[in-house]
Symmetry: C2
Subunit: 310 residues, 2 copies
């Protein structure tokens, strides 16, 4: 099970009606954050899922709306008492950006470990999830992310008893290790589908996004512009129309598409939703503070009561 919260859903500038796009990903006791524009710490506080468990921060790129909240957020982790290291991933330039921003938050209670993702992308582990960072097309180094939570094969106790395997060996076999004469295959069921989702904003459509979205439960993609008339702006600013994100979701065959990172020019992002649904029907618009739980058996959505109203 993975819990997600779209802390903010805005692009370019924070508004009092819409915070900057950021995603809180909770995997049990561990969590990570994708992007951290100014104000992100406020909405993490309001969400109530906690600061201290956040051990990884993934930054898509270095436009201010995606990273200007880092100094305050890193200080908030200190205030929350974190002492374990925090891993920060981002495209080329991370060390330079962090050196700049750390000028106003030099003293933290924990170490930050910086990982510059090469331009072609990379795979790593964060908050117990397998993460694949892949390059987007935004006129500067910019990353999308695919997250996978693997589901362990079921342990078959009846089978283990039939084979006469002593119970003291069960745990090792369950973990996938061999034990004495037995191999895990003897007592584990078939491979099972895990949970997977993609988060990609700030890009023109590129094949890598659809490819990353294959077999996922959910894709969270940018909905910078809803109206067809905004195509010239989308081209100029390296962003996507709703229908372009929807086409990527359709191509990927994902379970569901959630749009986020809305232009400040759209007061009501849902007004344009039909344009996306015409291409990929299972599309919705994210809202600030919307929470979702991804389970092994599908997607459940729930919204945090009162969040967007206060």
């Amino acid at each position: 099970m993975i819990d997600l919260c779209t802390l903010g859903t805005g692009g370019t500038m924070p508004l009092h009606t819409r915070a900057l796009a950021s995603l809180y990903v909770r995997n049990g006791a561990r969590a990570l954050l994708v992007d951290c524009g100014e104000g992100t710490q406020v909405w993490v506080g309001k969400l109530g899922w906690g600061f201290q468990r956040i051990g990884a921060i993934l930054i898509s790129h270095y436009h201010a709306d995606h990273c200007s909240g880092l100094p305050g957020f890193l200080l908030a982790l200190t205030k929350a008492g974190r002492t374990e290291p925090v891993d920060i991933w981002g495209p080329r330039g991370l060390v330079r950006v962090m050196s700049g921003l750390r000028v106003i938050c030099p003293n933290l209670s924990y170490e930050t470990v910086l990982h510059e993702v090469p331009d072609e992308g990379s795979c790593f582990e964060a908050a117990g999830l397998r993460v694949r960072a892949f390059p987007l097309d935004h006129g500067m180094p910019c990353l999308g992310f695919r997250f996978d939570l693997d589901r362990p094969r079921a342990f078959l106790p009846d089978r283990a008893r039939e084979l006469g395997i002593p119970m003291c060996l069960w745990q090792r076999l369950q973990r996938g290790e061999s034990a004495e004469d037995w191999t895990p295959d003897a007592v584990l069921g078939p491979e099972r589908r895990g949970i997977s989702f993609v988060y990609a904003t700030d890009t023109r459509p590129v094949p890598a996004i659809a490819e990353a979205g294959r077999d996922t439960d959910l894709m969270i993609l940018e909905g910078m512009y809803g109206a067809e008339d905004d195509l010239p702006k989308a081209l100029k600013n390296s962003h996507m129309l709703y229908r372009e994100s929807a086409a990527l979701a359709r191509e990927a065959g994902t379970g569901r598409l959630l749009l986020t990172h809305f232009s400040t020019s759209m007061e009501e992002p849902e007004e344009h939703l039909a344009a996306a649904c015409a291409v990929f029907p299972r599309t919705g618009c994210a809202r600030d503070g919307m929470t979702m739980t991804l389970r092994y058996d599908g997607v459940t959505e729930q919204t945090t009561p009162g969040w967007t109203e206060t």
Copy 2:
């Protein structure tokens, strides 16, 4: 006339119920901002007094809650179409801090002119006001500010007519220049009191604050801690209790004291107001979005309707 807005009133961390302390100062068509923590641009937008007229930013010190909003704010000025230079004043270290923060906002539509105020303070002009920056006691270079708007001496047209001064010379005399045989003193009334106020947060009490506050209409001072029990925290973190700010206001003999920069530990800053009023009765607690107009004939307060509720 000067319009003020306490955009935020919080110290240390922004909350969803309280933005970081920042002051918008409007002098007709010109304006300046004191401090710019993360989120300040949101509340400038909500206030509706405009971005473009803000030609000066004064930073008290480089703790993140006072300057982390600069990258986003500078970009917002670009988005608002500003092309004239923006002056930024701050204590020693400004060039280093701005070099760091500009990493995520390298391209602006205007020039930023950086002014490092020496440790002993300095005088300058911003938004048509005389400003005096003076040192505070916060364990690092930190500035308080006194603002003065001078009131021109009245021009006496009856006197000018009596003296037979040609009308074509009146404007020069009114501006305080001599014209032909006449000096301004011949046609100008007595000196008049202007408007003045002080803004100082993040400090232990120092005599310079009371001195700066002499003859002012208003002092806006920190109210980091209300309860007497918090004195050890105030000493440790170089902040003030309500009663300490009130004592400075009393010593200065200012017209009125407004407390701001409240600790996140105080849910309701007004709960402790009595402790300040016992020392200096004309004390109030600022609120996010509170606006005030300072006139030559006294202080008028008005609050922006609905601001703190949304």
